[in-house]
Amino acid sequence: MEKITQVTGVAVPFRRSNVDTDQIIPAVYLKRVTKTGYDDGLFSSWRQDPDFILNQPAYQNPRILIAGSDFGTGSSREHAVWALRDFGFRAVISPKFADIFRGNAGKQGLLTGVVDEETVERLWQALEAEPGMEATVDLVARTVTVGNVTVEFEIDDYTRWRLLEGLDDIGLTLRDEQAITDFEGRREAWRPTTLPAR
């Protein structure tokens, strides 16, 4: 997983709340056998509408999503995070995230920051004043900056540390690699091996 310290790029003022994971990516996209390539499924029904914000020229190649409250509710599908990531998003800011979505995001290298409702409104207004402007999410300082507006966001220390270090679950376990290797050295000869095939 890539280490994240700072995300800078086009920020989208996403004036919607209760965005559930079925909206983020519908079930029809779940039949695939890959862990990437879900960008076409992101918000696929909303993207049918030419006026949808992600279809507007100002918001192409976005990196940061500034969303309303209760983002990522519903189904536990990890595909919702994959779709956002594959589309190019590296950070989502919202007043409130669904627990499972936020957990999945932290494991997959998608930064989720919490700000209050008033702050999200300030960020939206700043972005809408100049559509397509870049913003910066600074994970070290826990701040979001849009033009001359800088606000703080919340993220728990553990997830922040994992993102800063670029540690997914496997990366975390591999910090114990020496212990795994030591264990393998003690593993008895009678225990099963599948190779060579007998």
């Binding site: 494991k107 496997i170 212990a179 795994i180 225990r191 099963p192």
Partner: protein, 486 residues
């Protein structure tokens, strides 16, 4: 300090790192079984992160969920099924994993393949992206189903972070009556403790009735531990286990065998160990058991009637029973033995091993199936199919009017073309009677192989003893009735 249970001993002997401050323990995984449905994203995740499979030599893959059971030489017609199989083949080649593909003699249901190769053995940890991994607990292994992210984790690290469990003893003492099998024991256990009764627990099956079962029977019991919501199910290893393993392709040999047996002998739960919960069942009282509803806990003895939901006190259970009976199209009070079926499915990781096929064949031998009933027999693996054919079981099955198929998961979950039509009713030796599991609108009654066989003959849910009234001679071993002929 009190003694330890079997499950605790296996857990502790696999600790790589002890979790602190409520973090999970890190456990080493001895054997990772892989199939085509839950592995593609795991391999893709490895590819994205540039990680290899840490121990290809502790990993084995087979094709089972999507494989056709007819004309297996032809390309798979359904695109999603075909893509999943093709993806597994590509991934296995790229990451150096041993794969048994359709047509290979070791291909079959992943939970049949591991034991038959002698890879599943006492005192090891086994995982697979499939909930019925609990099957392997029959050997005294700690065997758990996992999700796709965890599959990736095990592929990359050969370990898994796991939260501690509670232990439950399920003691079945006594002697089973003729015609009563391992399947009836586990259906009765689930009816007793409920589909959530095992949640958070590793179950240990104990007692004289369990000890007297073959390995195939013990696998049937452990297989359905997950239907009680349990993390895993286990049986302590004994001479039956060793006899099954000895001489199998991957079983230890020579000094390794002696060292293994010496270790396996230490695994039994200590006399002074304390379980977090205990359940007792009297084997002498058990009868053939069948389900009437849409979860595996909704079962009764075959001699009973469909329960009346209005007599159920718990409001949630009452509502669930009402919904189930509506879906199953069964009036309360119907004698179970009067329920007519359209199909009989003999197969699945619960009941598709050689013992199961032998039991089924011994009942149907020389008989004809009931008119209008479709009977499908699907061996658990290509090797089981060969072994059955070497004994002539396929002839018995085909002369009976049943279909003798190739190996796979088949109609247990209908990911391949083997499905029930809407409204069809099936006596099935599988493990889940969920709505639509065997095909949209299909209705499932879970039964043992003996009940499946007798049902295929009579056309209604039946035990072997019910055949005697039809003038059919049945081995007294299955009826307890000597020398009766009409």
């Amino acid at each position: 300090m009190s003694g330890k249970t079997l499950a605790e001993k296996v857990w502790e002997s696999h600790l790589v790192a002890k979790g602190e401050n409520g973090e999970p323990d890190l456990l080493y995984i001895d054997l990772h079984l892989v199939h085509e449905v839950t592995s593609p994203q795991a391999f893709d995740g490895l590819r994205m992160a540039g990680r290899p499979v840490r121990r290809p030599d502790l990993t084995i893959a087979t094709e089972d969920h999507n494989t056709p059971t007819l004309e297996i030489h032809k390309p798979i017609a359904e695109p999603t099924s075909r893509i999943q199989i093709e993806t597994l083949r590509k991934n296995a080649a790229e990451f150096g994993i041993r794969l048994h593909s359709l047509g290979d003699v070791e291909q079959g249901i992943v939970h049949v393949v591991g034991p038959q190769l002698g890879l599943t053995m006492p005192g090891i940890t086994v995982v697979c992206g499939d909930s019925h991994t609990s099957t392997h607990g029959a050997f005294g292994a700690l065997a758990m189903g996992i999700g796709t992210s965890e599959v990736e984790h095990v592929l990359a690290t050969q370990t898994l972070p796991l939260k501690p469990f509670k232990t439950m003893a399920i003691t079945v003492e006594g002697e089973l009556k003729p015609g009563v099998t391992a399947k009836d024991i586990i259906l009765a256990v689930i009816a007793k403790i409920g589909t959530g009764g095992g949640q958070g627990y590793v179950l240990e099956y104990r007692g004289s009735a369990i000890r007297s079962l073959s390995m195939d029977g013990r696998m049937t019991i452990c297989n359905m531990s997950i239907e009680a919501g349990a993390r895993a199910g286990m049986v302590a290893p004994d001479e039956t286990t060793y006899a099954y393993l000895n001489g199998r392709p991957h079983a230890p040999t020579g000094a390794d065998w002696d060292a293994a047996v010496a270790h396996w002998e230490t695994l039994k739960t200590d006399d002074d160990a304390v379980f977090d919960a205990e359940v007792f069942l009297d084997a002498n009282e058990l009868e053939p058991f069948v389900t009437w509803g849409t979860n595996p806990g909704q079962g009764v003895s075959l001699s009973q009637t469909v329960p009346d939901p209005t007599t159920i006190i718990d409001a949630n259970e009452r509502a669930a029973a009402e919904r189930a009976l509506e879906y199953m199209d069964l009036p309360a009070g119907t004698p179970m033995k009067e329920i007519a079926v359209d199909a009989v499915f003999m197969g699945s990781c619960t009941n598709s091993r050689l013992d199961d096929l032998r039991a089924f064949a011994s009942i149907i031998k020389g008989q004809k199936k009931a008119d209008g009933v479709r009977v499908m027999v699907v061996p658990g693996s290509a090797r089981v199919r060969l072994e059955a054919e070497a004994e002539g079981l396929h002839q018995i099955i085909e002369e009976f009017g049943a279909e003798w198929r190739f190996a796979g998961c088949s109609m247990c979950l209908g990911m391949n073309p083997d499905q029930l039509a809407p409204g069809e009713r099936c006596a099935s030796t599988s493990n889940r009677n969920f709505e639509g599991r065997q095909g949209k609108g299909g209705r499932t009654h879970l039964v043992s192989p003996l009940v499946a066989a007798a049902t295929a003959i009579r056309g209604t849910l039946s035990s072997p003893a019910d055949l005697i009234a039809m003038g059919i001679e049945v081995d007294p071993a299955y009826t307890g009735i000597e020398g009766v002929s009409a």
